[in-house]
Symmetry: C2
Subunit: 376 residues, 2 copies
């Protein structure tokens, strides 16, 4: 299903065919945690800002409204009126970061809901069942996301369990996909590489899960506080062991520059809340650097956030107006900022794809990386 169209150094230009349409890679998935993008952005808006893949969070939807509700409404595509690909995470990361009183056992994880304290058990089979109820295009494997740094022995035990969990995920999803009432019988499973910051464990785990012949592989456990150079190092270490004919997804990454560097190292899929979260704080990405609209110098600025930008905010409103909305606490301010930042990310991926196709990716990444990090 993944087709590698062109390589430029290690950077890859590809397509990934799914039952909900073809994804052009590299791609940035737009994060809609609870089946909506924070900042009053709808699925109609996502189409307007060039989103290819929406990402929703299994844990959040499991606790509210409940994956049974989403299933009864025809799955996530029908629920949120979005006909393009959706990726759901496994719930694992939220179990480890949000839930309290968790207990990890061989069968899975016992924890309490962060909403109402309700006791919940989630293991590989439960995660697959929930994601099948959500009926996403791509389901992610249920894994343990360990803290960095973690001791060698703990990490070794953890990745071995994560491999066993992955085998159970695969068996379970294969079985669910054959059930008559399954909404998306073509749901795909991506495996997740773990191993903390231990190179040899990262490689061992990648080799182990590659054997399972899954339609895609992710690198997990990064962007959780380690330095950027550590993150790039892990990609460098793992990438040679990732199947070349499968898409690679770097989970939870990152800034525009992080994405440029990861694409350079052979990554195809990305997701990150930074685009919408920074937007909600009026920190806006442009090709000339970051614009912070809280700055008083924008009070009378008639320019759009980024001159020339074709997003709904830049096509219609000035920095002065959007700054006023933010200062006045008007939700519209956040909405316009989120629309801009997501459009920027989606557009950036298009520019990345063009640069790879035209064999000038290194130059593009070298030039734009530092620019993106400067301040306007």
């Amino acid at each position: 299903m993944f087709k590698l169209l062109k390589k430029d150094g290690r950077a890859r230009r590809g397509t990934f065919e799914t039952v909900h349409g073809t994804i052009q890679t590299p791609v940035f998935m737009n994060v809609g945690t609870s089946a909506a993008i924070k900042g009053a952005v709808s699925s109609m808006d996502l189409k307007e800002i060039g989103c290819q893949v929406e990402l929703s969070n299994t844990y959040h939807l499991h606790v509210r409204p409940g994956d049974d509700v989403v299933r009864d409404m025809g799955g996530l595509h029908s629920f949120m009126n979005w006909d393009r690909p959706i990726l759901t995470d496994s719930g694992g990361f939220q179990v480890f970061s949000l839930a309290s009183l968790r207990k990890i056992k061989e069968e899975g994880v016992y924890f309490q809901s962060h909403i109402d304290g309700k006791k919940i058990f989630m293991g590989p089979e439960e995660s697959m069942r929930i994601q099948s109820n959500l009926a996403s295009t791509i389901a992610m494997a249920f894994d343990e996301c360990i803290e960095n740094p973690a001791p060698f022995d703990y990490t070794l035990n953890s990745i071995e369990r994560t491999t066993r969990w992955l085998i159970r995920c695969k068996e379970k999803l294969d079985s669910i996909n054959k059930e008559e009432n399954t909404i998306n019988k073509h749901q795909l499973l991506f495996g997740i590489n773990q191993g903390g910051t231990h190179d040899e464990l990262r490689i061992k785990h990648m080799k182990d899960i590659a054997k399972l012949d899954l339609p895609g592989y992710a690198i997990g456990g990064l962007a959780v506080g380690e330095s950027h150079s550590e993150m790039y190092h892990v990609i460098d270490v793992v990438e040679p062991f990732m199947p070349e004919d499968r898409p690679r997804y770097l989970m939870g990454v990152g800034t525009p520059r992080n994405i440029l560097e990861a694409v350079r190292r052979g990554v195809d899929f990305f997701d990150c809340v930074i685009a919408s979260r920074n937007a909600r704080h009026a920190n806006l990405f442009t090709h000339n650097g970051v614009v912070n609209l809280n700055n008083a110098k924008y009070m009378r600025d008639p320019l759009p956030i980024e001159p020339g930008c074709q997003c709904p905010a830049c096509k219609n409103y000035s920095r002065a107006y959007i700054r006023h909305l933010i200062k006045a606490g008007e939700m519209l301010g956040m909405r316009l900022c989120v629309l801009h930042n997501l459009y920027f990310y989606n557009k950036l991926m298009e520019e990345i794809r063009d640069a790879i196709e035209e064999g000038r990716y290194t130059q593009f990444a070298d030039e734009m990386g530092p620019k993106f990090e400067s301040r306007v």
Copy 2:
């Protein structure tokens, strides 16, 4: 500029020509207090939901971002990118309801900003200058909005001062409109009838201000806690003394049924925050009554808020989805609800206009009034 096209009983179907386009009356003005509709609704959205006139609040914009900023950005139309009519209130109502430590003198009102406690003076001339800076299509006169009930003597003194203030507003605006740097040299002034609940004072004041030959007249000081029947009574008392060839604006009113009853009594213009405020609490207007999406019975309801409704929320999303968004605290939930309620109000006015044109207004109002107040 006002053209009365048809009367059906006392209900009036008309047009009001302005420099920013022709308004079809009766009309509901969509309230965007700080130059934005609360609920992340933009001027682009307003076009999509059939808004004819946007209403902004002079007091709010004076204190933030400052009417000087709006003027420097080319006025409200340019600032918020809206090319249709805008009405600004005088700031008077907010001075009397929001500001603290106010002191009313013949020259105007001394008060403190509700934002930063800054001492502000506003009189007729200041209100006109600020509204001219905002460059709205229609400016409202600076008046005293007294509490109901108020003693006869206090009310008499107040309406006499309000008449003197109106004369000063007219003189000042006439003069500002002739200044070279005035953005909208065709800005119109509407006078405001006051008089509390004293019939004879309401009539006296209406007669006094009618003599000033203004392009429009409003009934103020209602919808501030009095009963609906008292409100309708005041309209019945004042209406015969309002110039028939000028539009009549009932300020701050009201529910769909209030509007039906006021149109029946000869009112042409309306504004009210109830449409957007109720929406933000998931209370939604439909032709079959109020839908409260907080109700658990909508958890799995695949219907739109109102079947057949052509608003952006109803065309794309289910009650179940919007309810989930509200419960999950997603801003998108509020946005969709506000879009629906404003569309409902704008559509209602269209239905009212059709009913008057077709000479069946009484039947329409009799039938729909109670329906609008029922619960689905």
